[in-house]
């Protein structure tokens, strides 16, 4: 469970750091009246939606680190035989990097309030993502055709499980993406989708990071 | 106010209950008296906290309860000094409990080098045991090799395994005052090897060998309980450990068979059994079809291991000795005519070779209700009531249904299965606990419909 504990320690550390910054050591009974710069709307200059997303990313980090912990623990047992990683995974990694880049460009455009830039970048990012999903399916196909089926070895089972869990998260992101594209298609003004685009960008960067970790794990073991 | 008095009474009552209750540790029979001591230390520390904290609370309630309208509470946000002292005292108490505990645990994790090895094997819902034999080494095993002929899953070509002593009953003997390390192995699911008098316990985990060690210090017979939920027969998974002097132990050990002896034991000969069967045929019929008029059940179609075991039970007075079990009592002298094990093997083999025609159905009941009730039975006797060797459960479909009803009633009322030697019959005792006669008929009606 070491990898999970590290991730959780980082998350907990962040929480505690933030709490301490919030003057956890004041004597609240000693002060009366309005204190701090704090006002309704929260201590952050960022939106609730972004906070919600960040909290969700902590949850997802916990989830993936637990998968990784389970992977390491199960790996120690004698019957573990790794299947060769399909080459297409390298291509998929590049595709996901590109989709992340284009999400970032869409976000930048949204902040600058450029309608055209948002839409085109968003579309390209989405296409790359779909290509990534397709590529992952292809990798499954390759493994399956070579006889590395789910139940034949725990290493295969973990391969399918980890990629599926990652892909499901991406599909969840694509749902938000499709709603945003739909809105832009209906000529909704850019500032109204700005948050959604920004959140998508953060989410995609996170999922890219998760994929890089998972891919490194699969390659190195 | 009442609440304060009640809390005081509860504290006093709990302390009295602690000292007066008839339920406390069973008499120790191993070297783990240290565990009892750590429990005692914990009781002292925790008991003090329990008494002091609650009495102080009760005092506060009495003293500071609202008595008149103008009463005001003190304003006291915190008291650093008091809080620090309380933290320190608590930490001291915690260390007082933890340190001895860790010392005892350090002893547990290092079993003595010279401990005798005993393998305890768990399966749904029985115990069996394996001793390493003269070479002092257990042979290798493989769960995938487990079958009716090789219930331990022994690797036949492992030389170390040949002299392993296999104990297929649920009764293990160990010599007094000699440390013993139990290697624990499970064939199927999690189990737990517990003897309350020994204090230690450990889970059996399929796919790995776990262990625990102890030195038995008191002569006696103790019950092994499974304490890890292992399916619907969990509560019936019992065994026995007999702690005895070295001499008696050696005598017992000499009677046990090794793996090689088990493997070489002759199979039953149906041809030779045919002659012996003539005695049986007078009641059970030439083809073992049974005769309700004589209260003789159908026996054809039953597997030989079951017939064999029942014949042995009848022969050795384990079954059919209860005076109320009149039909069982008739069977006992008949089984006694089979002079030895090979005779029993042969006649069982012959019975298994008889043609199997379904018995006439005589019992009616609510099949739907029977189906629900049969869910429990199906775990051992099979979805088709075909019987399962691994759990010693006989086939019950297509057999004499009136006999089935009689036996269910016998189990329920202690006419069968109450003898300590009837290990498998005893398991039925609690399984039929919640069945009344109507439910029994429903179940049998359902079995008839299979």
């Amino acid at each position: 469970m070491a990898s999970t504990l590290i991730v959780l320690a980082i998350i907990m550390g962040a929480v505690v750091f933030w709490l301490v910054r919030q003057t956890l050591n004041v004597q609240p009974w000693a002060e009366e009246g309005l204190v701090g710069q704090h006002h309704a709307g929260g201590p952050f200059s960022i939106s609730s939606a972004k906070i919600g997303l960040i909290v969700f990313l902590a949850v997802a980090s916990s989830l993936f680190s637990l998968f990784v912990s389970a992977y390491f623990q199960r790996m120690d047992f004698g019957d573990w035989t790794v299947a060769p990683e399909p080459v297409v995974l390298w291509l998929n990694t590049v595709l996901l990097i590109f989709s992340s880049i284009f999400f970032q460009r869409a976000r930048n455009a949204a902040i600058k309030n450029r309608a055209g830039g948002v839409k085109s970048n968003l579309m390209i990012a989405g296409l790359f993502t779909f290509a990534f999903i397709g590529g992952q399916l292809w990798a499954w196909q390759v493994l399956h055709n070579n006889g590395y089926i789910l139940s034949s070895n725990p290493a295969n089972a973990f391969f399918y499980l980890l990629t599926a869990a990652h892909a499901l998260h991406i599909l969840g992101g694509l749902w938000v993406w499709s709603k945003t594209v739909f809105k832009l298609q209906n000529k909704v003004e850019v500032y109204k989708v700005c948050t959604a685009v920004e959140l998508c960008a953060i989410y995609w960067h996170f999922l890219l990071l998760v994929w890089l970790v998972l891919f490194a794990l699969l390659l190195s073991t | 106010m009442a609440i304060a008095i009640v809390i005081i009474l509860l504290v006093i009552g709990s302390v009295i209950f602690h000292f007066m209750s008839p339920w406390y540790f069973t008499e120790l029979a191993s070297n783990w008296g240290d565990m009892d001591n750590t429990v005692t230390i914990t009781f002292i520390v925790c008991g003090l906290v329990f008494v002091l904290a609650n009495l102080f609370m009760a005092y506060c309630i009495i003293k500071f309860r609202n008595k008149d309208k103008d009463q005001r509470a003190a304003y006291e946000p915190e008291n650093k000094k008091l809080e620090i002292w309380l933290t320190i005292i608590t930490s001291v108490g915690v260390v007082a409990m933890l340190a001895p505990g860790l010392v005892v645990w350090a002893k547990f994790v290092s079993p003595p080098e010279d401990a005798n090895i005993v393998e305890a094997v768990g399966q749904q819902w029985q115990w069996s045991f394996r001793l390493p034999g003269k070479d002092g080494r257990l042979g290798t095993v493989d769960s995938r090799k487990i079958s009716i002929d090789n219930p331990f899953g022994m690797n036949a070509d492992d030389p170390y395994g040949q002299d392993d002593v296999l104990i297929t009953t649920n009764e293990l003997h160990i010599p007094l005052n000699q440390p013993v390390k139990f290697n624990l192995r499970s064939k199927d699911v999690l189990h737990n090897f517990t003897v309350p008098q020994f204090r230690v316990k450990m889970d059996l985990v399929p796919g790995m060998i776990t262990w625990q060690w102890l030195t038995p210090t008191r002569i006696g017979t103790y019950e092994i309980l499974c304490e890890e939920l292992c399916g619907i027969g969990h509560h019936t998974m019992r065994g026995k450990v007999v702690v005895e002097e070295e001499e008696q132990y050696q005598a017992w050990l000499a009677e046990q068979k090794t793996y090689a002896q088990h493997a070489a034991a002759p199979q039953g000969d149906a041809h030779a059994g045919k002659a012996l069967y003539q005695v049986c045929a007078s009641c059970h019929g030439l083809e073992g079809e049974g005769n309700p008029a004589l209260n003789s059940p159908k026996i054809s179609g039953q597997e030989s291991w079951y017939v064999k075991r029942q014949l042995e039970y009848f022969k050795h007075g384990i079954r059919g000795t209860n005076p109320e079990d009149t039909y069982g009592a008739q069977m006992a002298p008949m089984a006694a005519t089979l002079i030895d094990e090979s005779a029993i093997n042969n006649v069982s083999a012959y019975i298994a070779s008889l043609p199997d025609k379904p018995a006439a159905q005589t019992i009616k009941g609510d099949i739907d209700n029977g189906k629900d009730l049969y869910e429990t039975c199906s775990k051992c006797h099979g979805r088709q009531a075909e019987g399962k060797w691994s759990v010693n459960a006989p086939r019950i479909a297509g057999m004499s249904d009136w006999y089935l009803l009689t036996q269910l009633k016998n189990f329920k009322h202690g006419l069968r299965g109450a003898h300590p030697g009837d290990v498998t019959g005893r398991q039925m005792e609690s399984m039929v606990l919640s069945l009344n006669e109507e439910k029994m008929q429903d179940i049998i009606a359902y079995i008839n419909s299979l």
Binding site: G42 | C46, M57, G153, D188, M208, H235, K379, L433
Partner: protein
């Protein structure tokens, strides 16, 4: 400087137009909280009925032939899982969390009201899926609430087919629901606190609920991972947890897996889960005690730090549930130490509750009775935890009735007393009527004394060695007949306690129509939820203006003040500046 409250600007509250919109598809946190409470109570009653059936079997084996062994084990499993997850977790976080967080923080609603509504409906779906497993072939799963493989998915257990699959699916749904709710609670407490509500001015109820939510958000994924992997083992023949076994005589197709891995994942969730229930309980207990003792909570800062410390530590104690599981026995040293360390902050909380009573002005109202009863049961359950957390002490007691007695005291009776106390306390705010006092007192006394009569003897038959999860003890060499006698008396006590809960349900319904009318702050409490312009609060909670907070949540009996409480949002007047001790 004039603040424009962002929370006001940002939140478009969807005001419902129809009855269904207001009470069924509602996005109002108060309605959702009540919906959570109703469903959790309903499913809790199912679990209560299951326990009655188990007790009848154990107390009077062979006399009440209500259940067969397979049904008994299903009942054991479902009772445990329902009470821990679907009742207590849902009640504290979904119920009290929804009701209290926005009101106590001074927000108009949760940060994401729509997601909040979805959270409830997914929770309801998870409950329905769970309950449907009673009716599938083979019945509900009988693997124990810990769902250990292999037995959970092999033929020898009750409900090893559809039963376990539905259980896992239901848990997955619950986790989705919890995550949606949890994101809301955390974001709301971070973002939507009203002006002046600094962290250290928050009532401990909010602290407890928020810390529990953070624990839940990080810990529930472990259960999800375990559930997904077991689902694959059960349906697609993978070997994550499944070694090669001989399943009732038939060699399995699986090999190499390790059941211990499941246990690690399960308890990595399972132990924080204990605190997911305990932290809100701590928080609410603190507020009940402070309010009804008319005194500030003693050592507020210590209480907050203890909550955070307990939350953090709860992630490194999980394997104390596995001392006899066959894991590497050397782990025992580490986990015994961490487990006993966690006792220190927990003990401090207990001291501070009792010290709050010291020099207080204790009003023995019904919520206070429950809170005091809670302190007693929690001390009892807490110290028996020290037995089980200490590895060498745990070994003889593990898997016996001592464990049953312990966790029912600490995680059954204690949280329920606080649930009841909280209901008696906040009922007037959300209905405008008081709960009936006489019925409340009867309910308290029967529950408090009855549960002690149930669980105290269990500890002792546990020390004797009586194992848990036994359908019947049958002929045994191990225990005297007196065990059966005490089992029968436990059953009688349990049935009486169970019946008393029906009185509570009756009280809730009866008082809705006949209860004494409550004013907006019947307990004269300081926290914001009592200062709403309307009782019950309307959608949006605060009328045109959000409250502004000037002081912490525990200004009770402040020297020099006219009243013995000063609401958090009362404007401090220059000429009557209260003396504030530092």
């Amino acid at each position: 400087m004039a603040h424009v409250a962002l929370a006001d600007k940002g939140q478009d509250l969807a005001h419902p137009k129809t009855w269904i919109g207001a009470y069924v598809w509602s996005q109002d946190h108060k309605v959702i909280g009540i919906q959570y409470i109703i469903v959790a109570t309903a499913v809790g009653l199912v679990a209560l009925a299951l326990s009655a059936m188990m007790r009848l079997q154990l107390g009077f084996p062979g006399i009440f032939d209500l259940i067969q062994p397979n049904e008994y084990y299903s009942a054991v499993t479902m009772h445990g899982m329902i009470m821990v997850v679907f009742m207590l977790t849902a009640f504290f976080l979904g119920g009290f969390g929804n009701l209290l967080i926005p009101l106590m923080c001074g927000a108009r609603d949760m940060a994401f009201p729509y997601m909040n509504m979805l959270s409830f409906w997914v929770y309801l779906a998870s409950v329905l899926v769970l309950c449907s497993s009673f009716f599938v072939p083979g019945g509900a799963t009988g693997a124990g609430w810990t769902l250990y493989p292999p037995q959970a998915i092999t033929e020898g257990s009750a409900g090893s087919g559809m039963g376990i699959i539905l259980m896992l699916v239901s848990l997955a749904l619950f986790i989705v629901a919890f995550t949606m709710g949890g994101l809301n609670y955390v974001t709301t407490a971070f973002q939507a606190r009203t002006r002046g509500m600094t962290l250290m001015r928050m009532p401990l109820s909010v602290w407890g609920i928020i810390m529990a939510t953070i624990l839940g958000l990080l810990a529930f994924p472990a259960l999800l991972v375990a559930a997904i992997m077991m689902l694959l083992d059960a349906t697609l023949g993978t070997s994550f947890f499944m070694p090669a076994i001989s399943d009732l005589g038939e060699v399995s197709s699986t090999s190499g897996g390790t059941p211990i891995l499941f246990q690690h994942l399960f308890w990595f969730f399972g132990h924080p889960e204990v605190y997911i229930v305990a932290l809100p309980m701590f928080g609410i207990a603190s507020d009940l005690i402070s309010t009804h003792a008319r005194k500030n909570i003693f050592g507020y800062r210590m209480m907050v730090w203890a909550l955070i410390a307990i939350g953090g530590l709860s992630f490194i104690v999980w394997a104390h549930h596995m001392y006899v599981s066959g894991m590497n026995p050397y782990f025992g040293f580490f986990f015994a130490t961490t487990t006993l360390i966690i006792a220190v902050p927990t003990a401090i909380k207990v001291y501070n509750w009792v010290l709050t009573l010291w020099h207080g002005n204790i009003h023995l109202n019904v919520p206070m009775l429950f809170a005091i009863g809670f302190i007693f049961t929690f001390i009892h359950g807490g110290i028996t935890g020290l037995f089980l957390g200490n590895v060498a002490v745990d070994v003889p007691l593990s898997d016996t009735y001592f464990v049953i007695g312990h966790f029912h005291m600490v995680m059954g009776v204690s949280p329920f007393l606080i649930v009841f106390g909280g209901m008696y306390h906040w009922y007037p705010k959300f209905t405008g009527r008081m709960l009936n006092d006489t019925m409340g007192k009867i309910h308290f006394w029967v529950t408090f004394l009855g549960t002690y009569a149930i669980y105290l003897p269990m500890h002792y038959i546990g020390i004797l060695g009586v194992p848990r999860r036994y359908f019947a003890y049958g002929t045994t060499l191990s225990f005297p007949d007196s065990v059966q006698v005490i089992n029968a008396s436990i059953t009688i006590a349990a049935l009486i306690v169970g019946t008393a809960q029906l009185l509570f349900i009756f009280n809730i319904i009866w008082s809705l129509f006949n209860g004494k009318k409550a004013d907006s702050n019947p307990w004269r409490a300081t926290t914001l939820e009592w200062q709403t312009p309307d009782t019950p609060p309307k959608h949006g909670n605060w009328g045109p203006e959000l409250p502004v907070v000037y002081r912490w949540a525990y200004s009770y009996s402040v020297p020099g003040a006219d009243e013995d409480f000063i609401p958090q949002n009362e404007v401090p007047s220059e000429n009557s500046k209260h003396e504030v001790e530092t």
